[in-house]
Symmetry: C3
Subunit: 314 residues, 3 copies
Amino acid sequence: KLPEPTSVHWHGVILPAGMDGVAGLTQKAIPVGKTFKYEFTMKKAGTFMYHPHFDEMVQIALGMVGMIVVHPKRRDARRVRDYSMMAHEWMIPIGSRRPDPMAMSDFNVLTFNSKAFPSTEPLVAELGDLVRIRLGNLGPMDHHPIHLHGYEFEVVETDGGRVPKERRWPETTTLVPVGAVRVIEFVADNPGDWAFHCHMTHHVMNQMGHDVPNLIGADTKGLDARVSRVVPGYMTMGSTGMGEMHKMDVPDNSISMLGGEGPFGLVDMGGMFTILKVRKQLTGDMDPGWYDHPAGTVAGEASAADLSRDGIKT
Amino acid sequence: KLPEPTSVHWHGVILPAGMDGVAGLTQKAIPVGKTFKYEFTMKKAGTFMYHPHFDEMVQIALGMVGMIVVHPKRRDARRVRDYSMMAHEWMIPIGSRRPDPMAMSDFNVLTFNSKAFPSTEPLVAELGDLVRIRLGNLGPMDHHPIHLHGYEFEVVETDGGRVPKERRWPETTTLVPVGAVRVIEFVADNPGDWAFHCHMTHHVMNQMGHDVPNLIGADTKGLDARVSRVVPGYMTMGSTGMGEMHKMDVPDNSISMLGGEGPFGLVDMGGMFTILKVRKQLTGDMDPGWYDHPAGTVAGEASAADLSRDGIKT
Amino acid sequence: KLPEPTSVHWHGVILPAGMDGVAGLTQKAIPVGKTFKYEFTMKKAGTFMYHPHFDEMVQIALGMVGMIVVHPKRRDARRVRDYSMMAHEWMIPIGSRRPDPMAMSDFNVLTFNSKAFPSTEPLVAELGDLVRIRLGNLGPMDHHPIHLHGYEFEVVETDGGRVPKERRWPETTTLVPVGAVRVIEFVADNPGDWAFHCHMTHHVMNQMGHDVPNLIGADTKGLDARVSRVVPGYMTMGSTGMGEMHKMDVPDNSISMLGGEGPFGLVDMGGMFTILKVRKQLTGDMDPGWYDHPAGTVAGEASAADLSRDGIKT
């Protein structure tokens, strides 16, 4: 339970000034244990957000944020897969139960809807569906470049309203600034399992410590053996890169740095990462499992004939 | 007085190469104590900026930046409230008189036109006015997402020129990259006091130290008492969040972390924050004071009847 | 040679899911010493990129990235100067041979096509040429605001495809997010030597250490003399700003913080900085040397007559 006052600001909503939720400016702060009433008419359809406007730095770092979707009265003409995703960033010291609101750049837990990969939910669509993803960012500090594999898309809406069709840009990565909504749309016409993630490399990792020496290419075997005498199980990180870090044991209240099991072995991603699964046919909204690739369409080891045909010597 | 050479670059202005102000490349650096002459024709209306192009990292960190507005010969057809605002970020160690140009991300003083809230100037408009805000960012490192409450707006101009009407996007937050201008416009049709601010949570704070432990929810009473024996007046920060930090005494040459007095108590914001005041009638450009809300339009405590009607148990 | 598995993702390319290159999800990781075969049809012209999708944080920090340009069958109607530039950021501890993949914000080597100014290649164009610059960003963390002097330009293409002419914005600085392509175009109609660079001030510096005290305006002569007794050649940095830092000797495997020689003395820039050279006539793609300014078009010291005419007292 929050031990200090708060308020609720309705980000992007056009409303009377007294309902805007800025403590001190448009209303009294809501004291601990009290319930306030906000009453206003939603004048237009759209994608909005809400968060406190009292001690924002702390309360937003603790995750007090959410999204509001107002659907138009007129229904979509075709079937739409309509997803809402809030991007958030946290600094949770390893083993701790509480985020640290002082963090300005070294966030170590990155989430879509408060889950880090591999715990994020997949997105599903049938071939021919219109896919709409409402991306909101009320994280403290970073503008997240969200990238989709296998598709181009357009931004069709912001928290300011609908972007008319003839003004949109084609993109594969959309930058979602702090305090902004970007709604993207595309037709699901390319079957498969497609990565959907923040493109900042430290934002697809889980709960790293960044204060470790750079040992890529160094021989650390002797070091490990010696440290193990005093710290049983010690493993030097990263002498062959960090792709294998998922095997490390993790302390209480923390998560593995990387990865979940995929159909071809470890998917060594974490954080703001999920998977769009496009299939010819789905059973409702159920996760259809892994994609069954047509024969001959999966990258694999080149044969001796391939190499010699292309003049590659190994 | 700057103890080293400098130059002036005219950002966004189309001019002869020798007037472009890049020391070494298009002119000699201006030595200490000398005056140089730049002479060129402003070929088009627009919003431009200027800054040194010699030792930029240091001289920009010291605040050597400004905005240039070239008005078209043809006047606006309606009344326009035309504001110019430069966003800047500084690292000023607490108690110091000089910004530290080495800062790359941990800026602690965030300003609009070199003032941090509550010292920033409010923006005023009468109902029906067109409001134009020219946002420039020549800060060292951060792209600032500037958010307006109560309104949608459009970006109508950049430092590259006018954005034609049929290409604009509706927004409530515009990202102003380093080295860019975003001019926004909207009609003042929603009366009230509206927050206008950077949405990065650490950019609406004043001169925090970030090297403090995370004590939210911890009981620090005993600690304070014990430290007070050796440091009179010591107060542990943040055990109930940080909304109350404005009460702290501050060292010389520094400013309170948060807040100014508002009509409903403390507005616990700082840094890149100001207020747009829209009224039915104004006296010139004078600050009209706080908004007088119509009866029944201010969020307040829910009554027992409200709660029981909505089935809320507290 | 990379001591761990890898894969290749074809960023922005529309292809079968099994060729998408996400290790674990769409294929097995490529083991050390093995060669994999990717086979797909490039369905459309455009500007794409490639990078590993296994242990991205480490492998991208080591520079395993590149750009792919697919030209349309139809040739451009006029002469086009078509440039490809990848922005990248590195943390290379001074004197070290290897980038540190743990860096999240304090990058110290900033490059266009893996070169830092003054080693970057200039861009050249003849008056009347269409100049096209394909900017790609597969750096780890920063969105780079790339600024051109002397011109306005438009973004005509992203990694998602062509931006139709009637949707483009005029700009002088384009923000290139991590994991995105921005292709800009403009007609070379303004002769001269024009700076083209990232506008973040720490991104036009080379290999600074940022952990030094702020000494601007301080008198450090006595300090230097005393330290020199034990550290021969010691020079305190920055007591008159940092514009003179290019004179420092640098350790092995490192580069000078700032600058190259220009036609008017030191150009004290580094990192993501290069020069666009527009001339009436060129010899092929050869660097034409420095611009020969028409008489009276270079900023210089104001004469006594200038100052008195304008009422300036010095």
